[in-house]
């Protein structure tokens, strides 16, 4: 018998095997395989990863992966979302065996995200605003600027370069200070917070500097409160805040399963 694969969308709290109404990747039939009170949302597939050079198809697959996660969240509450293209070699039996072996850990992780969702918070500022703050707070740069004004043209050019170098350093220091501050403030109002690395931002923010991008795990009851805190941050001046979500807790699952 040729061994197959099981594509895993998420792990959920559910006690019974059911069929999901929504179709999976490539129209696959999605089902829920349970072990006691936890289940894996899966479909049967070939034991090879999904690949394509067709952009539209790749897009459809990835968004379908998301759709199934959303549907599972609607039915079972917050899920442990898998990364796109997570495939287990084997069949239903392999999946259940895997659930059994990792039951305690999966159960614990599900409890930790229960009644919570992930939200993204990105804080942007105008470079000129930060430069203004640097000028106000850094006497060293003001001195350089004053000296430069008295210089003859040639020497003034060198000073200008020096000044712009200093400015750059001070701007990144200032951004770091701002970032730490926002991180602490927001951290006080959410359950868990994580700084995102290498984050991409929508085009409309292209001309701004990203101060910090955070993923936050927030209890359903605290979403409003976080919104208020973000309003306050924005009102404090000089920054714009982007608040996205809710997402499945992609940044807050740490499954380390054994076979």
């Amino acid at each position: 018998m040729v061994e197959g694969g099981m594509y895993v969308y998420s792990i959920v709290s559910s006690e019974s095997d059911v069929k999901m109404e929504t179709a999976g990747i490539g129209g696959a039939c999605v089902c829920v395989l349970s072990l006691e009170d936890i289940s894996a949302v899966v479909h049967q597939c070939a034991p090879v990863p999904y690949t394509t050079e067709n952009e539209q198809m790749a897009g459809e697959w990835v968004l379908t992966h998301h759709k199934v996660i959303e549907e599972a969240t609607r039915r079972f509450g917050t899920v442990l979302p898998m990364r796109f293209n997570t495939i287990i070699k084997g069949d239903e039996h392999t999946v259940r065996q895997w659930l059994r072996k990792n039951y305690e850990m999966l159960k614990k992780e599900l409890e930790e995200v229960r009644g919570r969702a992930e939200f993204g918070v990105q804080i942007f500022c105008d470079e000129s605003t930060v430069e203004q703050r640097v000028l106000e707070n850094s006497p060293e740069i003001s001195v350089l600027k004053q000296q430069m004004e008295k210089m003859p043209k040639g020497a003034g050019y060198l000073y200008e370069r020096k000044l712009s170098q200093h400015m750059k350093e001070h701007v990144s220091q200032e951004l770091e200070v701002l970032s730490k501050g926002f991180c602490e403030t927001i951290g006080e109002h959410v359950e868990r917070v994580k700084v995102d690395e290498n984050v991409r931002v929508p085009d409309e923010y292209g001309d701004k500097r990203l101060v910090v991008s955070l993923s936050c795990l927030v209890h359903d009851d605290d979403i409003g409160k976080l919104g208020v805190v973000l309003d306050e941050i924005e009102e404090s001046g000089g920054v714009s805040v982007r608040f996205t979500g809710p997402w499945a807790p992609f940044n807050f699952v740490h499954l380390e399963c054994g076979e």
Partner: protein, 82 residues
């Protein structure tokens, strides 16, 4: 302010492709981030309209709004009758 999922395709793709549970287990034959898909999608981001034309995003958005507004009640339902 209220959280939004409008214009958040970038955020979603970052999560789907680069985050989410990674299983360190031998039976796993594929764990996300297949470069081909990652790359072609990232290129597709430049022309988000393609996906909008495709009708994917629209369905996604109305469904997620619905989910958000009824998130709590459904969660309760699910705990009562899983």
């Amino acid at each position: 302010m209220k959280p939004t999922r409008d214009d958040a395709l970038v955020d979603l793709l970052d999560r789907l492709l680069d985050k989410g549970a990674l299983l360190t287990v031998d039976v796993i034959i594929s764990v996300g981030g297949v470069p081909l898909i990652g790359l072609s999608l990232k290129a597709a981001l430049a022309s988000m309209e393609t996906m909008l034309d495709y009708g994917m995003m629209e369905a996604w958005d109305s469904q997620t709004r619905e989910w958000y507004s009824s998130h709590k009640e459904l969660e309760k339902d699910a705990t009562v009758k899983p």
